[in-house]
Subunit: 911 residues, 2 copies
């Protein structure tokens, strides 16, 4: 017989999967000998069977009976006994805490008879009738699905009629009257009487908790928190204790340290003569925990003793709920407490100093996401803000500035020292200049991996995208809010929060982060920037933990950077090289004309001329970047995007020329040529078209130009005594033959430059693995390659058949709703699909060359969960945007520590 019911004496804290978090911790406290009201837990497995079969498993009823008898024996009372009733609470408790998402029913066991017994036993008739009133109200609403307002309206009407100021004014007679009224509501709404059988009450409450797992709000919460939908909840059935039995009773919540700042020392709230719900409802103001010391020193001392014991036992911050019933302390719940990012770092550091945890453990107690939230400036939480609308948070931070809608205005105003927010319907590579100078970027369209979002994250620029409530008219220079009708114009000041996606009106004050200063400038500067003891302790804690993470991590962390400024930034954040230096950005701006000339070239001579003109420009770019990264590797990706990205948009241009024609204006020869070029380069699916290495085979001069620029930049730097370390990376390789051809081309050019200059050059030539076919044939490709870099963005696109530009806005919401995935595969690597291909690429590549260096340079290189996966499959490095480097360092450290202790190779494929 499956065991569905565990008495609190039977479980322990490691059984969260089976008993849920609350149940496991109640059992743990029980077994520690702490004063826990007796009770039992119904397992999550029972819930899963119930939800799948639509009915509770047969054995459950039998096991619940036995468990109730056990509790009755301990308490010397019987459930719902008419004379001296045992009352019980029924509470949900899933593996992961889902506060307020599921149901609770208190005072099970009260009925028309036992209410009298409770009154006599407690010597407080009013308390008994108030408890009965609460039961019917709570049970009616949560178990019998009756609209809650039907009960509360009756209650408020009574209080209004009698002129009461609150619940406490109600008399026993009032409560008896309400019990009657509430019972009538139940009858009217359900056609059934309120159940008088205590066991029936209990069974119904348990099933109501099971059902509450699948309410909309619970599903939405789980989606947001990435909690799987198929876990189910445990149910805790526990003897009631009452904090509302007059003075000498009360209830409270406390923490073993301050979960907000991380300061050490106990911390909490206490409410006299009240039950837990009263605290949650916020009807009365709570007192600080220290008040209990004055009110009831014995209970206070017992509580602080228990807190100490729990923290030592759990080796972490504990979050505790307790009740004092007529001077007797009862522990109702404990768990490892949630905390702010700052508190997480400080507490982990404190616990190391107190010798409660090891340095390794401290690193695993904090997360990259927590570090991220310490890095970005934020709006002052105390400031008054006028909200305009909201979009999707795409790149964290807080930015304030004037609305601008084009590059020219953006540049002009920032030159005057004014701050601007670039507001666009959506962005494209042309907007780069404006994005660079702006404080933040706001778009009405696009998802979290749209152009704006990716570029902004790359620059660490605050960005909000997909604010579809906004209508951006860049001709009129207005931004209209659909929902409110309000309109803002270029020059109006707005503020955007890249962490929440909120958009505000006017100037909102921003606070800066000393942690950022520390990571970029070192400990001394960080401490100097900190303006309080709390902040200084935080900076020290981050320093200690980062130091240990760096010591322990196996993977290197590089940054993605395309220019000397970003390269310097990356170095500041301790990047150990550049993992992705895109070269196409070097063809924008003024140089676009040269690329256009190359594309339009009528013969090879004209093409060569255009390429020759690009050479000194590209060489200067590389001199700048390699110089900034002196002594560290820089992976240069050869040109990747389709050529038509350098030409005007087909539809726009066609419309423009049609208008001209209709207006009788003449269309010039060069306009015709450009249209012809645009037409001939137009592709149905440019993502799958002429780009990457294919460009190189189509226009070998382009690759030769780039390799020559790289090689000549090395020569110049070496002549200055520097140590440039470029690695040439070929994008979009599908099979080994492509790699052979490009490699031969590149080696020839490098040899030429070596011979011309007399300086020997030995530049590694590797390739991206970003097509499924490359991963599949990685064993053959490895023979021609000096390193692999996994381009997981593109690999996700082809493995799933998802165009990043299209799918996020169109059907990803449905996919989240249906649970096809909990998180976008562009945000965190899809381990079962894309990840399996990466793993295959690693294994097959190493099959040919056991020491082949492998890294990842997609967006996933900065994503914590993905970093842990990359650690497990044995990549040599991750590369991410400069601002993510500290996060990646921390997560790589955590992953190495976790791998050391729990490493099991789970990704063996079944082939």
């Amino acid at each position: 017989m499956t065991k569905y019911v565990y008495d609190f004496t039977e479980g322990n804290k490691d059984q969260k999967d089976l008993l849920g978090g609350k149940g496991a911790n109640l059992a743990e406290m029980t077994n520690l000998g702490l004063p826990v009201p007796p009770g039992f837990t119904i397992t999550t497995e029972a819930c899963r069977v119930y939800l799948n079969e639509g009915a509770s498993p047969d054995e459950l009823g039998v096991q619940v009976t036995a468990a109730i008898r056990g509790v009755e024996a301990k308490m010397g009372k019987r459930l719902g006994d008419a004379k001296d009733p045992l009352l019980m609470s029924v509470r949900s408790g899933a593996k992961f805490s889902m506060p307020g998402m599921m149901e609770t029913v208190l005072n099970i066991g009260l009925n028309d008879k036992s209410v009298l017994g409770l009154g006599e036993q407690s010597g407080d008739e009013r308390f008994a009738w108030d408890s009965y009133r609460r039961l019917i109200q709570m049970f009616g609403k949560t178990v019998m699905d009756i609209e809650g307002d039907l009960f509360s309206d009756k209650l408020h009407k009574l209080q209004e009629e009698k002129g009461y100021s609150g619940d406490l004014d109600m008399t026993t007679e009032d409560l008896k009257y309400l019990v009657d009224e509430f019972k009538k509501v139940v009858k009217e709404e359900t056609g059934q009487d309120f159940p008088q059988d205590p066991r029936q009450q209990l069974d119904m409450a348990v099933e109501a908790v099971f059902n509450s797992w699948n309410t909309d709000r619970a599903r939405i919460y789980r989606r947001r928190e990435h909690i799987p939908n198929d876990l189910g909840t445990g149910v805790n059935v526990q003897t009631m204790v009452f904090g509302n039995m007059g003075a000498g009773s009360g209830t409270g919540v406390c923490f073993t340290r301050d979960p907000s700042t991380g300061r050490s020392g106990v911390y909490g709230d206490y409410l006299e003569n009240a039950q837990g719900e009263d605290v949650v409802a916020g009807i009365r103001n709570t007192l600080p925990l220290s008040a209990l010391e004055e009110l009831d020193k014995k209970s206070y001392d017992e509580l602080t003793g228990i807190m100490d014991r729990l923290e030592t036992h759990y080796r972490d911050l504990c979050d505790i709920e307790f009740t004092v019933e007529r001077g007797k302390l009862w522990m109702l719940q404990t768990r490892v407490g949630k905390r702010t990012a700052a508190a997480a770092f400080r507490i982990a550091d404190q616990l190391v100093n107190e010798r409660l945890i090891t340095h390794d453990e401290a690193v695993t107690r904090v997360t990259g996401d927590q570090l991220t939230s310490l890095l970005f400036p934020q709006f002052d939480p105390k400031a008054d803000k006028v909200k305009v609308s909201r979009g999707m948070p795409a790149s964290p931070g807080a930015a304030v500035g004037e609305i601008v809608m084009d590059n020219e205005t953006a540049v002009a105003r920032t030159r005057e020292g004014r701050k601007v927010i670039l507001v666009r319907r959506e962005t494209n590579p042309d907007d780069l200049q404006g994005m660079v100078v702006a404080e933040g970027i706001l778009t009405a369209r696009g998802g979290k991996t749209s152009h704006a979002a990716v570029v902004a994250r790359g620059m660490g620029r605050c960005c909000v995208v997909g604010a579809d409530d906004l209508v951006i008219d860049d001709v009129a220079g207005t931004m209209k809010v659909k929902s409110t009708g309000k309109e803002y114009a270029v020059g109006d000041v707005i503020a955007i929060d890249g962490t929440t996606g909120e958009i505000f009106e006017g100037d909102v004050p921003v606070t800066d982060s000393p942690v950022t200063t520390f990571l970029a400038e070192g400990l001394e500067a960080g401490l100097a920037a900190a303006d309080s003891d709390d902040a200084r302790e935080l900076v020290n804690a981050v320093n200690n933990i980062m130091k240990h993470a760096d010591e322990k991590r196996r993977m290197r962390v590089r940054a993605n950077a395309d220019n000397p400024e970003d390269a310097e930034l990356a170095r500041k954040f301790d990047a150990e090289g550049i993992g992705l230096c895109r070269t196409e950005h070097m063809f924008l701006g003024d140089r676009r004309k040269l690329i256009e000339a190359m594309i339009l070239a009528k013969d090879e001579a004209a093409q060569a001329q255009a390429l020759d003109a690009l050479l000194p420009l590209q060489r200067d770019d590389f001199v700048g970047i390699f110089g900034a990264m002196d002594g560290l590797p820089v992976t240069v990706r050869l040109i990747d995007p389709p050529l038509h990205e350098f030409l005007p948009d087909l539809t726009k241009l066609s419309v423009e020329l049609a208008r001209k024609e209709a207006a009788g204006e003449e269309i010039s020869e060069s306009e015709r040529e450009i249209l012809a070029a645009v037409l001939s380069h137009h592709e149905q699916n440019p993502m799958l078209g002429l780009r990457g290495v294919r460009l190189g085979l189509k226009i070998p001069g382009l690759i030769k130009l780039q390799v020559r620029a790289i090689a000549e930049a090395c020569v110049l730097l070496k002549k200055e005594g520097k140590d440039p370390r470029p690695e040439i990376m070929v994008p979009l390789i599908g099979g080994v033959r492509e790699m052979q051809i490009v490699r031969d081309l590149a080696l020839d050019v490098i040899k030429e430059v070596s011979e011309e200059s007399g300086i020997s050059l030995d530049l590694p030539i590797g390739n991206m693995i970003e097509l499924p076919r490359a991963a599949i044939s990685a064993d053959t490709i490895a023979a021609e390659s000096d390193f692999f870099s996994f381009g997981t963005n593109d690999l996700t696109q082809t493995t799933w058949g998802f165009s990043r530009d299209d799918v996020e806005g169109t059907f990803f919401n449905e996919y989240f709703d249906y649970g096809v995935f909990g998180i976008s595969p562009f945000e965190s690597i899809d381990v079962g699909g894309v990840g399996a291909l990466v793993d295959m690429g690693v294994q097959r590549g190493r099959y040919t060359k056991p020491d082949l260096k492998m890294g990842v340079c997609g967006e996933h290189g900065g994503d914590p969960a993905s970093i842990h996966f990359f650690e497990k499959i044995g990549l040599n490095y991750v590369s991410c945007s400069p601002f993510r480097v500290p996060v990646a360092r921390l997560e790589a450290g955590r992953a190495a520590i976790e791998n050391e202790t729990t490493y099991e190779r789970k990704f063996e494929t079944k082939l």
Copy 2:
């Protein structure tokens, strides 16, 4: 020491890899005791070393010396001896025959001294000097790279001056003069003297043959014939024999059966007093082989005896070259002879009857491509044709008709009983109606897998694409030929050959194929349609071989068909079901408006209304198809393409509206709405966008409509006592969750229809595997799926990152040139990449469900090489266009037979 040289006595016919075809067969004949002039073969390995290292391997010279000494000993002569010189020929010979692609040098060993000895020994001074003249000319051109015209100009000038009518008029003195002149040419052009050292002549000739492997024409030939570039050629060095030693000498080519018709009985040509080159040069007319019987009965009898022996030995048609030198017969070459498709079938059938080969072998002696060429009507080869231009042959056949450029004209003229060719710049789904009624389709753009090509092949309609020499102006109704300036107009009659890509002017007579009649109507009808004994014997041979192939094949063959007409056609060709019934074509034409209404619907009610209107139409479609395939499975693919395909093109519409606006015309509300819809459905990469199952999750009503139409069609047919067997197929599945959701939706609808009708329905629901992720997670998907169908077109697109619509025209030519692949992965499955994923999908799917039915429905289902791969990995069926069904049946039979005897599982992946 690697053995690089094999005397003819050392090799055998199975060593083609090492010795090349010619060398292996010369060795085989030598060992059979046939009169082969002694000689030796330098291996292909020596060639590969030479090409890789740029020099011959050291050991080669030593081994050649030994081999020459061996031949000298046999002949009792020494190479280039001044008195009695041994002369040798140097000929290429690769594994696969590449006629005329590489070099030959004859008469090696002649120099200023030995020419005198040869004159004396042969008693024919003129012959000796003519041989020397030929050597210098041939050697100069092929070994020393001198422009051939420099020699032939001298020769022609002499003949002109002397008033000669041909080579035979030249006197000994003339030839001596020419030898002098030719030597001067050599000196002038190369700065070196013509080499007098016979061994140097030989070594240089051998290297020239090696080098000829990499000439442009050889590379182009190999690309066309799919011969790998890295095989290299063997070199055959053989004692010269002379057919030009006067009467009683001669040379000939013969076959053991007629390679053109397949008729039994020897067949060949003979030329008296001539060398092989003279036959090739076509200077004099050859005699039929029977002439030799009269001229030299002894040699004729010996030759026919040898022919018989060779055919018995090779168990196949042999192709033989021989020379008679003064009454002595010499065998110069034999090989299994090339033959026409008709001859292949007839000879295979004859050899079975003659008990030379088994039925199994007969099936492997013919190919699907050969059968294909027997199926399509062809232009009468004897007719006079005026060529207009040529394009790429996309779908075989021969079609004649008036040029039309739009559906309306196409339909109108065919209604009048006229035949039309649809001529378009490129086609799109809108052109379907015109394609259906046209005899053939001609486009100026697009590759072999463009829309026009795929649809035309699907319909078995003759089609030529990518004729980029044509400028199609559909407004003016003209087709202009760029290269000639000629112009044709709508109504002009043209003829297109889908087998060669040629385009002709005017009416060209077409001949029909009795094999097609046989396959579609049965043996009796086929024999009745045959108009000659040859044709009747061919029909019988095809019948015998197809019968055996059908008996032996393991895989089922289904057809792709979207309408009852195609379904009936498929049945005629013995398709065992429909493997792909696309449903999107059912939404075209008049119904497009309903889909447009669904897309534009402002609320769910309007959407439901549009869907409801589609229901009876879809149901009728299915009643037609399931009825036509009564008792056989029909795999219905739910709607797949992106919705915007049903809306106007963005650029076109934008230009249209811009023009209207510029002209001051008002733009209607509905035009604005359509533009808005087009904009909101526009995708950057529609291939990777909102399509397939994603549409189903976004608009569940669409799937419900389709499933209901399928289920209701079944109910209607079952009520008529029929046996409909639809299988519902979900496209573009990436993971199991998508499949679960659609499956649940579909099962609900099927249950509803079952309950409404009282007729129980049990319809299999399976999915396409056409994304890498589906192949990777096939084990989990299998749990929710009743069958898999591999969509290898789309799988190729995502695995390689190739958009079929874009890449073939832009860079595939470079990819062929560079040898990235020998054949487009869209034509024949890319075994190492896409094939590995299909294999992975098969293995993982069967891991979960060992009996899961699996098929393929991409274009590859009709491709011979791909069919063999699918047999090896264990698919249950292939599906192809109705006209390819006989080909697929034959190839599946061949594959099963080959697999039975040589089956080795080569596709184990290395994971």
